[in-house]
Every structure is written in structure tokens, then in C-alpha cells.
Amino acid sequence: MRTIAIAVAAASTLLASLPAAAKLNSCDGPVVFGTTLSETGPFSTLADRWRKLTEVFAEEINKSGGIAVKACNKKLPLQFVIYDDQSVPATAVQLYEKMATVDKVDFFVGPDWSSIGGPVPPIADKYQIPMVMANVATPALYDRGLRYTWGTPFPVVPNWSTRYFDMLTKVNPKPQSIYFITHDNPVMKGITASWSKKAEAQGLKVLGNETFSPELKDFTALIAKVRAAKADVIYISSYDNASVPLVQQMRQLKVRAMDVHHTMLTGALARQVGADIEGMTGELSWYPGVKGAYSELVETVMQRSNVTMFDYIWTLGRLTSYLAMVQGIEKAGVVDREKVREALFKATIRSPAGDVTFDERGFPNTGAFTVQMQNGKVNVVWPPEVATGRLAWPSPSWQQ
């Protein structure tokens, strides 16, 4: 008898802990977003604080009543179902199946990384559940005729350095040449391929492109070639960790240029290379202080969850996937998957970094701001209208 009582109590507790079943096309209960996070595994260093971030986001939205649903003439609270995908695509696939069939969430948001963004979206199509992915930046993954998938990676490869190259046309003295150093990785090679063409198109002479493996530790030969070329701008297209010895050895071997640009200028890179990072420019999707739609909400959420943009550079992509789905529902005016899908196709999503629109594949137009390390701090330096610091050009630390 006691065993039965315990079993009943346990089952009741379990059921009570599950989210209230979402009621599509109704005005009862919360709107439930299902998502996975890479809280463990190789990507966890990029995302290990995002559970708290997600919970705080829901709290902040619910403080004002929740998501405005016109058909209900009221706001509905937002609720999340969150699982750890362990950075493993197969685990992510199982979890999205579970969220569709067991948790019965209303919408999917946020899976990150191209390795997970590959196998997961077909589940959204299978169950006809709209999904706004976060940091899935590979354009080819959107070329599969998917009908229920969008993405909000910041920035996308074709827009990665738009503002930086715009800056290069306006600085004085104007650089004449550029040298690319590329991490042997599909995304980074894509960035170099895209931006070396654009560099040539705007009159910069491309003096070379050296590709390096992430296992390479001694960059003497590569750096000797770059030094000999005497390029005005050195453009490092690399993930942060892989380029740590490169940046350090460039300093040790006295590389000089007007500017050294890094496509992933992050807190992790700054911590590892110390003072060597001073004066480098890079990209950042957004930075607190740059005002835009929802910037106060995003700043509050990041502050409360102890997430900084410089340390967790993909945070805006993650939060914008939530914002996109919230706005999609508000534009649809009803908690209806098909109506929300239609709304997302036509929508212009507002974000702290500017308006986001999607092409017919669900691929966005997101870009990034140009930043520069100045006295140990990261400052947005381009475009000037949102700058938090004045660009130092040519970079003094790379002239010594």
C-alpha cells in the first residue's frame, strides 16, 4: 500500500513538473517554446550559461504579461522546455522528437551550430512546427526546401565583415593591400573566399592567403611570409582558440601593419593572449550600449544571467531566435503554427542590432559591428553613429 502511495505521489510530482500542455488556437495556458542547449560537450564553453539566460528571458517577457496575442485580446505567458543536447547531433534529434511528441511544445527555438542545424530541422517539417534556429550560419543548410525553418545567426558569412570593409574605404591613410590568414575550417574558408573577392573589388591588392590547421603550433614560416609581404591589413579568418599561438607569435616576431583584423575577437582570445590583443579589430554582433529594438530587454537578461557578449559572442543569435518567435506570434495574432509560419515568412524581425529579414529559404541578413581592443577593453568603432569608442588608425600597437 505504501509502495503504491509513493508511486502515485512520484507520478503526480512528475506530471506537475511538466509544462502545461499547450493549447494551439486557444487562449488558455502558456505559449511553450521547446529548445536544446549545448550545456555539456565540446560546445559547452560557448553556451554553458544559456539555461539561466533562457529562463530569465521568459521571466522578463512575462513581467509585462507575456506575448501579445491579438485574437485572445490579451497576453499569454511564455514558458520554455529546455534540454541539454550535449553538443551531440543525435541527442539533439531525439530531444526534438521528444519535445514534439511527448512535451507537445508549441514552437521550436534556438538549436545552435551547423552540426546540429543539419539533422534537426527535418523534425520541424515532419511535425509542422515552426523553428527559428539560432547560431546555424552555413547557408547550404537552408537550401533543402525546408518549410518550417528560419535562422538568426549573427553575423552570416556574406555579411560578416561588411562594416569593416566599409571602414577600410573611409580611413586615412587608406590601406592598399591585404593578406588573409585562414583557419582550415569550412566557415572560415567561406569567409575568406567571400571577403578576398570583395577586397579586390574595392581596390585592395590581395597579397596572399595562408591556410593553417588547428593543430599547428609553430607559425614561424607562415609569419615570415606575411612579414615579407608587408601588407597594410592582415585579416585573420579563424576561430579564437585556433589562432592563439598565431597572434602571440605575430607579436613576438614583430609583425607590423596598419591593422590586424580577427573574425572572432572574443573574451577567450583576450584571456589567452593577454596584452597581445591590444589594437586588434574584429567583429561583434552587438554590444551593450548600442541602442536598438529590445536592447534594454537584452541588456537586462544578459546582466541577470551573468552573460557578457564578449565572452559568449553567440548570445545575440540565441536571444534573437526567441525574439523572432515572439514577434512571429504577435504578428500572426494567434497561437497557430501555420499562421505563425506565414507571419515569419513576411516578417521584419526587430533586434538590438537592427532589423532582420529572411530570404525565401529562411536565411537572414544579419551583420556585425566592427570593434577594436583599446586599453584592454572592447569598443565598437564602426559605424561611427553607434560607436562606443574612436577608431585608432593605423593601429598604434601594430606600428611598433
Binding site: T45, D218, A221, R227, Q248, K254
Partner: protein, 288 residues
């Protein structure tokens, strides 16, 4: 010409570092006949510890090495007695397989424990010293410091092995364990000391390594492969041979990056090892 000279200088400095990693492994294999697959991982773990000590207390790298070496000596001594020595009682096949299993298992466990304790991201000692410029040639002071460390450690090891009772005992055990035992040298004791000493050299190598390159808990096996290559090329137990082989490998990697593609440089050690095994199966140097 300047570019080539710059690459050659870099190759020599890098090779010296590789040789330093290989010294301990070479000594251990030469005397104890154990292929320690966890050797590179010990370096990675020590490198992480050195980086943490530097960032937490701003300790001088030499002091960190001086603290880590005895710790590693004690760890390796206990490790040999507890896990490796019992395998000597088995037959040759079981002993060899057992040694591989124990050292590979140690590699995996040490990597995971370090990642759990300190995180799996890379760490280093961002010590920035002024570079020396000779026209277009730049020599990094950090790398010169490392080269100084390598030279000092090589001399210390040479003196220890050639001019002390410990060194003579090690050589005696290597040449004839039973004969050495009859003459009063405790073979088992000497093997444990050699294993511990060879492992302790890793602490110094780790600090010098982490001054130039970042380390992470999972990078050890690649270093072990490089050290094996150096031993194969230089000859087992031959420290000058290991130094020459290290420099050969470092210069070869540099020239690969200069005249071909930098992304092929890390694969070069494996290709070099395979080629030398085919052409000179006993290595280029004399065996001790």
C-alpha cells in the same frame, strides 16, 4: 634569404622544445623498457597547472617548474610501483599489452580529470618579452629563454647520466640488469627512479612549452607521437641523437610551411617516422 633564415631559426628553437619532450620518454624506454603513452598528457596537465599558477599568483615560470618537478617525480614513482611494476611479473606479451593499456588508460583519465577540474579550453603563460631584431630577422626573446632552458636541462641530464653514481647505475641496469644487481645496484629501485626522473623532466618541458604554445588537456597524444618520432629518428636512449632529431623535425616542419603549406606541417612527424622506420629501422643515432 631573410625569410629562410627566419624559418631556420624558428625550426631550431621549436626542435629543441620537441627534443626536451622526448628526453624523458627516451630515457624511460631506454632503461625501463616502457612505452609511456601518457608522457605527452603529463606535459599537457603540467602545462595547464603552470598556466593556472601563473594567472592566479603571477609566479615566475622557473619557480613553477621547480615546484612541479618534485610533485611529478613523486607521482611517477608511486605510479610505477602501483601500476607498472606488477606487470613485470607477467609474461612478455601480457606485460607489454598491460603496459599499453595502463598508460593509455592513464592518458584518458588524466585528460578527463584535468578537463573537469580546469576546463577543456586552451591555456598558456602570456609572458611577453621584447624581441631582438637584426635587420629583417627577428628572434623572440621568449624562444631564446626557452632555448636557454633546453641547453641547461640537456647539460644537467648529461652530467647526471655520465658523471654521477645515479647515471652509472642507470647505465648498468640498461646494459645488464642481473649483473648490476649482483654488484649492489637495486634494479627495481633504479627503474622506479628512472621512470620518476624521466617524468619529472616533463614538468620543465611543460613550463617551457606553455611559454610559447597553448596547451589543453587533450593535446598530449599528439606530443607523444612527436616524441616517439624523435626517439625513432635519434635512437633509443640517445640524448644528443634526440636533440638532433628534434631540431631536424622542427626545421622540416618550418620548411614545409614555407615551401609548401602550413596545414601539412603537423602531419610531417608521422610521415618522417614511417619513412625512417622503412629506410633506417634502427634510427639515425646510436642506441645507448
Amino acid at each position: 634569404m631573410e625569410v629562410l633564415l627566419q624559418v631556420l631559426i624558428g625550426g631550431v628553437l621549436l626542435g629543441g622544445l620537441y627534443a626536451l619532450v622526448a628526453f624523458g620518454l627516451s630515457l624511460i624506454y631506454g632503461v625501463v623498457r616502457i612505452l609511456n603513452f601518457a608522457h605527452g598528457t603529463l606535459l599537457a596537465v603540467c602545462g595547464v597547472a603552470a598556466s593556472l599558477a601563473f594567472s592566479a599568483w603571477q609566479m615566475h615560470p622557473a619557480l613553477i617548474a621547480a615546484m612541479l618537478a618534485p610533485l611529478l617525480f613523486a607521482f611517477a614513482w608511486a605510479y610505477y610501483h602501483l601500476l607498472l611494476r606488477p606487470l613485470a611479473a607477467r609474461n612478455h606479451f601480457e606485460g607489454t599489452v598491460g603496459t599499453v593499456l595502463v598508460t593509455v588508460g592513464t592518458l584518458l583519465i588524466l585528460s578527463d580529470l584535468t578537463a573537469k577540474a580546469a576546463g577543456s579550453t586552451q591555456r598558456n603563460i602570456p609572458l611577453r618579452l621584447p624581441a631582438l631584431e637584426f635587420g629583417e630577422i627577428v628572434v623572440s626573446s621568449t624562444q631564446l629563454l626557452i632555448l636557454g632552458g633546453i641547453v641547461v636541462l640537456t647539460i644537467v641530464m648529461h652530467v647526471l647520466l655520465k658523471h654521477t653514481w645515479f647515471g652509472r647505475a642507470i647505465r648498468a641496469v640498461t646494459q645488464d640488469g642481473v649483473g648490476a644487481q649482483i654488484c649492489g645496484v637495486r634494479s627495481v629501485h633504479m627503474k622506479a627512479l628512472t621512470f620518476a626522473f624521466g617524468s619529472a623532466t616533463v614538468a620543465v618541458a611543460a613550463v617551457l612549452y606553455v611559454l610559447s604554445f597553448p596547451v589543453d588537456p587533450y593535446m598530449g597524444f599528439g606530443l607523444t607521437v612527436k616524441a616517439f618520432t624523435i626517439i625513432v629518428v635519434g635512437g633509443v636512449g640517445n640524448l644528443p641523437g634526440a636533440l638532433l632529431a628534434g631540431v631536424f623535425l622542427g626545421v622540416a616542419e618550418g620548411l614545409t610551411g614555407l615551401y609548401w603549406k602550413p596545414e601539412w606541417a603537423p602531419a610531417l612527424s608521422v610521415i618522417a617516422m614511417l619513412l625512417i622506420l622503412v629506410v633506417w629501422p634502427k634510427g639515425l643515432g646510436r642506441s645507448a
